[in-house]
């Protein structure tokens, strides 16, 4: 097979790149290969498939008509197996080879299974694919007790879903707080309190040491803290790692993920990478990081696609900014940017009412926004992200911004529109 553009993956980074390519090059041949057998969908929608809110038949981001209209060869159920970048050739899992002019690696991430003694001997779930979600949804009914290993976004979403079905849920998290990648101890505390109030048992700062089946056939975890909770269902959500098996020895430089420059180029000629699979520049420092969030996959995919198609308007990637919009039991926890770690001169303005559970933290440096975090207080994450990326001088409106960040930020960004 031969193609001008070969894209591996069919999720946000891949689709965003495809969109950008077609903006600049309406006809160049595009082949899209993806491991998944379905039409494209987002991993982010899966918690809602698990809860039953989303119909698994209606979550697809594109249909066959889209690929037809955009002249894309869509090959689902065919994973990329190996690469020979020096020959501009990719080898697919079914043995076919594809010669490409430009290649995008957008294969995302897969769950990491921690080393827990006996874990491979017990049934457990993970959540990354639609099949995983449908399986978990089916397994959930009738579950009375459930175990969730990992108090990150995926684990907490699942814990809430399970608790809502009436199950007794236990979450085991190695860090001192849940969602510690996005929130500080006070903010996480508010979230933890909501889970506790809804009957979820949280084991913080504790690790699972071993897993086994107990006498009633249930799954039992033994924790480092001496507890040994049991359940009829176990979800492992301790983190993800870039899906880069195919890179193996082909010469493309990797660290934790595929290393890319500010144009999403890998170390190999004519090969780009974007999204969860890529390790790219950090906005706040010099390191290259895994950001692992949907909006960044969209952004990186767009930059890669524009570069691949030679779009004159292509700009460099500004760098990854951590951000998250997380809803729990009807409340919103929003997190945009960094909490100032690593900046000695960062100023932190924080208001926190443990009674009402309302929380706001603003982190600034030299009158520029570094980060903003809120619970049960609406701030426009996209507007704040943009203020951070533009390094907008908030000096002239600092008092207004600290008093009412949403309003002040809306004024600033609205001014940029004509």
């Amino acid at each position: 097979m031969q193609t001008r553009y070969l894209i591996a993956g069919s999720s946000h980074a891949a689709l965003s790149a495809l969109h950008a390519i077609r903006m600049a090059d309406a006809d160049g041949g595009v082949t899209l290969v993806t491991r998944d057998a379905r039409l494209p969908y987002s991993p982010t929608v899966l918690p809602y498939v698990v809860s039953g809110r989303s119909d698994p038949g209606r979550v697809f981001l594109r249909d066959e008509e889209y690929f037809r209209a955009h002249k894309v060869d869509y090959l689902p159920g065919v994973a990329l197996a190996a690469l020979r970048p020096q020959d501009q050739t990719a080898v697919l899992a079914d043995g076919r080879t594809v010669c490409y002019e430009k290649l995008l690696l957008a294969t995302g991430a897969t769950p990491v299974i921690p080393t827990v003694e006996g874990l491979s001997g017990v049934p457990y779930h993970v959540l990354r694919t639609l099949d995983d979600a449908v399986g978990l949804h089916q397994a959930m009914s009738g579950v009375r007790e459930a175990l969730v290993l990992g108090g990150g976004l995926i684990g907490m979403h699942a814990a809430e879903n399970l608790a809502r079905t009436g199950a007794k849920v236990t979450v085991i998290e190695a860090e001192a707080h849940v969602l510690s990648a996005y929130f500080d101890a006070d903010a996480s505390g508010i979230i933890e309190a909501a889970f506790s109030a809804n009957g979820v048992d949280l084991h913080l700062a504790s690790r699972a040491v071993s897993a086994s089946r107990d006498e009633r056939g249930r799954i039992r975890l033994t924790l480092g803290n001496g507890h040994s909770p049991a359940g009829d269902l176990l979800l492992v959500a301790t983190g993800v790692a870039p899906a880069i098996g195919y890179v193996n020895g082909c010469g493309i430089q990797c660290d934790q993920g595929i290393l890319v420059d500010e144009r999403m180029r890998t170390s190999a000629d004519d090969v780009w990478a974007a999204g969860d699979v890529a390790q790219a520049r950090d906005f706040f420092g010099n390191a290259r990081v895994l950001n692992g969030i949907l909006p960044d996959a969209v952004e990186q995919g767009r930059i890669a696609g524009m570069q691949m198609a030679g779009d004159q308007a292509a700009k460099d990637y500004a760098g990854g900014v951590p951000l998250n919009t997380y809803s729990f039991f009807g409340k919103q926890a929003l997190s945009v940017g960094t909490d100032g770690r690593g900046f000695a001169d960062a100023e932190v303005h924080k208001s926190f009412d443990p009674q009402t559970g309302r929380y706001l933290k603003i982190v600034m440096r030299e009158d520029r926004l570094l980060g903003i975090f809120s619970i049960d207080r609406w701030i426009d994450a996209g507007v704040m992200w943009e203020l951070i990326l533009r390094r907008t001088d908030l000096g002239p409106v600092k008092a207004q911004f600290l008093a009412d960040p949403q309003r002040a930020a809306r004024v600033l960004m609205s001014k940029t529109w004509r």
Partner: protein, 453 residues
């Protein structure tokens, strides 16, 4: 995909009454709580800003949605939100830098403007007229369907809007046209073609500067006698119209020849090296009104060509600007119709990036500012209805905001600026007076009295 209708906001007209927000909250949320409006007027330093969904052409909120709940509607241009698919993950709000989609706590989900199915409640509620529902897109879509009668790749200066004018007017006027393009920028851009081939798909000729209108008069009469309805049309510069070509033009207008005469006024002989014309304004630099130790630009005011033409009692006379295409198109339609019964004259103000010396991306903005400062007044005339202001500017911007946009006025002294401001005010007042109801009333009154007597 075509162009779409949109809500525009004219901040200087806003008085902060919040009626738009109230109307939106009522229409969309069934409440008087303006916090639940999907349009938000924000006061900032005595001025106003607007936060709302801009219905982006390449919307990031849509790409950020993991649930396929948002979609740009190709037919309406609205970004549609599907409640049955939304999962409340709020990632759309991460994609929006204008707070156009935000969480409504009372509703329990995100909300955004949907343009009220093409009849926005906020616009109807806006008494000062700061919000407008701009439907210009309709025209572009319609004109886009018509055949482009110019060759591809005209050689204009970068940022020149004359190509827009040439292509769109000829599209609208249609293939049954004979076009005259006297010496000037229009033939310079390629209308008369190269190497024996014309630059248009209609018959085009290159009259002398002096005889455009008389040649067209003959062409129209000839075809009329042959029984063919052909539009005799001129696309001429201001020099070829107001100076060199004036005697034949005035004669044709006085005789009521059936011609559509369009002047592209860039205030000088731009293609031959930017010499002054009768339409060059006071104080402007040109290569023949230089700025130096003695000279400080042109020392006379521009002659007001459209008013001169109005006094010929033509079938139709109007001024127009590429900054206001909706207005221009309405006038073009009326001018085409009038050219079948008499002389139709359309005077289009056309900023010149090269000769006026401003950045090439600023052309439309310069055209817009000319109108917003009253430097250019948009009006139309026909013998039956007299003069009508088509886009009255009640609160004009200071002239300085216009003249500082370009190099040709860079040297202006305070006195010179005052001079121009005074003539701008005088002219605006004069046109307003002409446009007053009084003439029409008086004529009716006299007629009524005559019958009675």
């Amino acid at each position: 995909m075509g162009a779409y209708s949109t809500i525009s906001f004219d901040a200087p007209k806003c008085d902060g009454c919040n009626d738009c927000m109230l109307a939106c909250a009522q229409a969309k949320s069934g409440t008087d709580e303006i916090a639940r409006s999907r349009i938000e007027v924000l006061k900032s330093n005595g001025s106003f800003e607007l936060a709302m969904c801009r219905q982006c052409g390449d919307p990031r909120c849509v790409q950020n949605c993991p649930a396929a709940a948002l979609e740009k509607n190709d037919a309406t241009g609205v970004i549609d939100w599907d409640e049955t698919k939304c999962v409340d993950c709020l990632l759309c709000t991460v994609g929006c830098t204008y707070a156009g989609i935000a969480y409504d706590r009372a509703a329990g989900h995100v909300t955004k403007c949907d343009l009220c199915d093409g009849d926005p409640a906020c616009v109807k509620a806006c008494k000062p007229g700061a919000l407008r529902y701009v439907t210009t897109a309709r025209i572009y879509n319609e004109v886009g369907q018509l055949e482009d009668l110019f060759a591809p790749g005209l050689s204009g200066c970068q940022g020149c809007n004359t190509e827009l004018l040439m292509r769109h007017t000829l599209r609208r006027v249609g293939p049954d046209t004979v076009l005259a393009t006297p010496p000037g920028c229009v033939p310079g851009m390629g209308s008369v073609g190269y190497n024996g081939q014309t630059g248009t798909k209609v018959p085009v000729f290159h009259p002398l500067l002096t005889n455009t209108a008389s040649m067209l008069a003959g062409v129209r009469r000839f075809y009329k006698r042959k029984g063919r309805d052909v539009t005799a049309m001129a696309l001429a510069g201001d020099g070829g119209t107001a100076d060199v070509g004036f005697q034949s033009l005035s004669g044709a207008a006085e005789r009521g020849e059936e011609i559509l005469y369009i002047t592209v006024d860039n205030e000088g002989y731009m293609n031959t090296g930017m010499q002054r014309s009768g339409c060059t304004p006071y104080g402007a630099w040109t290569s023949t009104t230089p700025v130096g130790e003695r000279g400080q630009g042109k020392t006379q005011d521009a002659k007001n060509m459209p008013l001169v033409m109005m006094m010929h009692n033509c079938a139709y006379v109007a001024t127009a600007s590429t900054g206001f295409m909706e207005d221009l198109y309405e006038k073009l339609d009326r001018a085409i119709a009038a050219s079948k019964r008499g002389f139709a004259y359309l005077h289009v103000y056309s900023p010149c990036t090269t000769g006026w010396r401003f950045p090439s991306q600023q052309n439309i903005e310069v055209a817009r500012k000319a109108v917003e400062t009253n430097f250019v007044v948009l009006w139309e005339f026909d013998p039956k209805n007299g003069v009508r202001l088509t886009r009255p500017v009640d609160h004009p911007l200071p002239l300085a905001e216009y003249v500082t946009m370009m190099g040709k006025f860079r040297h202006l002294s305070g006195e010179q600026l005052e001079h121009i401001q005074a003539s701008v005010d005088k002219h605006a007042a004069f046109i307003s007076r002409l446009a007053g109801e009084r003439d029409a009333q008086m004529i009716r009154h006299l007629a009524a009295n005559r019958t009675a007597a």
